[in-house]
Symmetry: C2
DNA sequence: ATTCGATATGTTCAATCAAACATATCTGCA
DNA sequence: TGCAGATATGTTTGATTGAACATATCGAAT
């Protein structure tokens, strides 16, 4: 490993997770919240986003609420009632935060990939989106 | 944020965690296990290591056992009985794995620090050992 | 042989986290 | 005005995790 004998590490890989947090250590956004926002952006619906990601509507809604509460502003504009029952879309701030997280994610995936190369003797890694 | 208006992110920072895992996604080593090995190396005792890290002996012992079981080889040589009741020390392989993890950790802390600079508008990060 | 102090390990109890369940609310449209 | 379909939210049940408890084993030294 690390250039030395890495024979024992056939089935080992490097995994990591990334969070935005408040200074009081409360989670604001991780992969779950991020991919929810992404699906909301794509589908215009919290319900569809939850279904796509195979989490309960209740859970998806809770994730968004918690994040919004921590941040103190809205990530998603939600309308209920009406023709199709309702719909959701990202606020401008939601879109901004999403993009920032995406950039961090990409950069860090890239960095980790580089670092991991030094341990190429069987030690691999996953990108965040593979999890 | 990311060069744009980041005024809202005063209290936000970037946190991350790192694991070595088996392909079947079982944890082999994270910060907990790593710092245990470090303390064992320093003190020559699993008991003292556990106390230093303020976890129960039972838990510390379980962490080591799980990791060893996943890997299929010993990280720590443990002797019981004798003058002082017993003692523990790292196997060569334990020391190797520790060092590899340390290098990964350092490199990735460094990488994340760099990446984070692009988001210097209030978005900070912690190194692993700060958690 | 007995003691001492560390390792070894199953068990049980508590707390935390997510899943499931159950309703309620809202509003364009037929 | 009532239906449809999505959002809104409390409650309860279940599962996973870790803390706590209780013993057992080991072997050098006395």
């Amino acid at each position: 490993m690390a250039g030395s004998k890495g024979d024992k590490y056939y089935n080992v890989f490097l995994d990591y997770r990334l969070w935005l947090k408040t200074i009081s250590n409360e989670g604001i956004m991780g992969e779950g919240c991020f991919s929810l926002l992404l699906e909301i952006k794509n589908s215009g619906s919290l319900k569809e986003a939850a279904e796509k990601l195979e989490v309960s509507y209740r859970k998806a809604w809770g994730i968004i609420r918690k994040s919004e509460n921590m941040l103190g502003f809205k990530l998603v504009d939600k309308q209920r009632g009406g023709k199709d029952g309702g719909h959701s879309f990202l606020t401008e701030e939601g879109a901004n935060l999403m993009q920032a997280y995406q950039e961090l994610k990409d950069d860090i995936d890239e960095s980790i990939k580089k670092v991991t190369k030094k341990f190429f003797h069987r030690i691999n890694h996953k990108t965040l989106s593979e999890n």
